[in-house]
């Protein structure tokens, strides 16, 4: 056996294949349904057509909500990085009273149902006298995306070799220079993984947006629900397939553009 490339046991490979199939199969169904030449959502698909995609892509409401969700996800991701990286550094590198409590609070949106967090935020904003839906949804998405980035960056920070930072400081580098030139390259994978999670979480969110969105700030998942309510035909499956493709494309672009291997992103 080559120690560099150990052979995977057949049972493990089979297990992985089954697990992958269980995860991917539900995503393949909307893709199959979206090419069905039928007025109904039917599986297996009947006939073949790409008309549902043409119909969806030409729809003004789809275009508007897609662009809004995209811009929102970009802003949320940027805000999450700005807040999450310092937060992860603080929680990982410093010991202070209530550290565990702060960590638990930041991770709590993963534990609580998003629906509950959403209605609580709406009530909170109302008591503050705010009717600015965009700010509310931006804050809401940041709250639910922050835990992912803090987790991945904290994990990456724990793997940073402390001696490299000490060496830089010994050689005269300031705190910021040490962070920028020594620490940052080592936690880049964690930040990127957090960005991907944050972007996709914001882009796919329905539960939070249901409470906080308004007619001017309407997200794509909400619009998909509107389409389903209006007519449950394969155009809904076409939108779902486009969203899956978009998320996959995003992962591939991140991997290719930044020269990272997928397993490094996942591992942080």
């Amino acid at each position: 056996m080559n120690p560099e490339n150990p052979r995977i046991p057949i049972a493990l490979a089979l297990c992985c294949a089954l697990l992958s199939a269980a995860i991917l199969a539900p995503m393949l169904i909307p893709i199959a349904v979206s090419i069905s030449d039928s007025m109904f959502v039917s599986f297996p698909p009947r006939g073949f057509t790409l008309n549902w995609y043409a119909q969806v892509l030409a729809d003004a409401e789809f275009q508007t909500t897609f662009l809004f969700s995209f811009k929102l996800a970009v802003l949320v991701t940027a805000l999450t990085v700005l807040l999450g990286v310092p937060c992860a550094i603080g929680l990982t590198r410093f010991r202070f009273p209530g550290r565990s409590l702060v960590f638990a609070l930041i991770l709590s949106p993963i534990v609580f149902p998003v629906l509950v967090t959403g209605v609580a935020l709406l009530q909170f904003a109302s008591r503050l006298g705010s009717n600015d839906s965009f700010l509310q949804i931006l804050a809401g998405h940041t709250v639910i995306c922050l835990p992912y980035l803090v987790r991945t960056v904290s994990g990456a920070l724990l793997l940073v070799v402390p001696s490299t930072e000490d060496a830089a400081r010994t050689l005269g580098a300031g705190q910021f220079t040490t962070f920028r030139r020594v620490t940052l390259p080592q936690i880049r994978g964690g930040i990127l993984a957090g960005c991907v999670f944050a972007f996709i979480t914001s882009f796919d969110d329905y539960a939070m947006a249901m409470w906080l969105a308004d007619a001017r700030n309407f997200t794509l998942p909400l619009q998909i629900h509107v389409f389903i309510e209006r007519s449950f035909d394969p155009s809904v499956a076409a939108i779902s397939a486009l969203m899956v493709a978009f998320s996959l494309a995003l992962l591939l672009v991140v991997e290719r553009a930044l020269g990272l291997k997928m397993q490094r992103i996942v591992a942080g």
């Binding site: 007025m39 109904f40 007619a215 449950f232």
Partner: protein, 366 residues
């Protein structure tokens, strides 16, 4: 050049008696038309509406025309009754919404929690045409569109004639039952009470506690308990089950109208009325504009177009429906009576709903 201009001017200003009267009338009327709704210029309201065909019609047809007539902005958010109530509760201290569309069951809840205001009848002249049965809680809400709630079927099989037939073994694993989590799903519990007690819906709704053994007997015939009406209708149209419901005609008839093999089933015990209503949020911004919008929703023209687009019955008298729409809606009130369109006592049902849900869940999750 000069001659042409002169001729043109001469023609433009040639005063005849008819032109003079028309010009005078226009001069008098124009400021009135321009100022009639000037109070609403630049104002904005947020309203909560439904999804589906009704939502699409309101967003694309009603709102643009209203905005043009009043020079205002109407922001519409599509949603459902229970989340809409939650939104009103969450924003009670600083109301964001002015008008909210909810199902009839929610009106007593909203009134009880002081979330809604009485309708300003003097600012809503179209309420004069409202059938009295669709005036809720003595002027706190009006109906907007009525759907028929009953079972529906794939038309390839024979239609049952009574709710009692649903227990027949020929429907084994062939019925998709609407969940009691949905308002329309509660109707089936009342229908079962009617079968068990032999009483009409109006009396049977108070005896639902007697149905649980009978409901348990139906279990072999139930393929699944669904929460999404559009999905279930889609599956029954494809023949994946024989019957579905109880659900609203507004989910089923759009498929029927497109030629799908699916239709509502009118059973001898009668049907239920699913009434979509409108309420004025207490303390919401620009209440006058909200009242004007609600008044517009009750106009004969809007009601005709809404009924023909979304296949729901108007709650106001005097609407002339197309022959095509008339096939699918229960209108006017005489036709509603012929179909025994039953409107439950929501004040009673809302109090019992949690207990009913728990009992029904116990049967179908076992």
């Amino acid at each position: 050049m000069t001659e042409v201009s002169a001729a043109s001017l001469s023609t433009r200003f040639a005063p005849t008696r008819r032109r003079f009267i028309a010009a005078t009338a226009t001069a008098i009327a124009a400021p009135i038309l321009m100022t009639r709704n000037s109070w609403a210029q630049g104002k904005e309201i947020v309203i909560g509406i439904w999804g589906g065909a009704q939502g699409e019609f309101i967003r694309k047809q009603v709102i643009p025309a209203f905005e043009k007539d009043f020079g205002c902005k109407v922001l519409a958010e599509e949603g459902f009754t229970l989340p809409n109530i939650s939104k009103m509760r969450a924003t009670k201290s600083n109301p964001k919404y002015t008008v909210m569309f909810v199902d009839d069951l929610a009106v007593p809840i909203c009134k009880g929690e002081d979330l809604i205001a009485p309708l300003p009848v003097e600012k809503m002249p179209n309420m004069a045409n409202l059938f009295p049965r669709f005036n809720y809680e003595n002027g706190y809400s009006t109906g907007l569109g009525i759907s028929i709630g009953t079972m529906y079927r794939n038309t390839s099989g024979k239609a049952p004639t009574s709710f009692a037939e649903l227990w027949d073994p020929r429907y084994k694993n062939g019925i998709k039952l609407n969940s009691w989590q949905n308002t329309s799903g509660l109707f089936f519990l009342i229908a079962t009470a009617a079968i068990v007690t032999g009483k009409p819906f109006a009396e049977a709704q108070y005896e639902v506690d007697k149905i649980w053994p009978k409901l348990a007997e139906l279990k072999p015939n139930i393929q699944n308990v669904y929460t999404s009406g559009v999905e279930a209708a889609n599956e029954i149209a494809q023949g994946q089950a024989i019957l579905g419901g109880i659900d609203y005609s507004k989910f089923i008839y759009p498929y029927t109208a497109k030629g799908a093999p699916i239709d509502m089933v009118f059973l001898k015990e009668g049907c239920f009325a699913g009434v979509n209503c409108q309420v004025l949020v207490k303390g919401g911004p620009n209440q006058d504009l909200g009242a004007a919008f609600m008044n517009r929703m009750l106009s004969k023209q809007v009601q005709k177009e809404l009924a023909e687009f979304a296949l729901v019955s108007p709650p106001v008298s005097g609407v002339e429906l197309s022959a095509q729409a008339q096939k699918y809606v229960a209108y006017p009130d005489k036709r509603m009576d012929e179909l025994s369109l039953f409107m439950p006592d929501w004040t009673h049902i809302n109090k019992q709903r949690a207990a009913w849900t728990e009992s029904a869940n116990r049967i179908f999750s076992a």
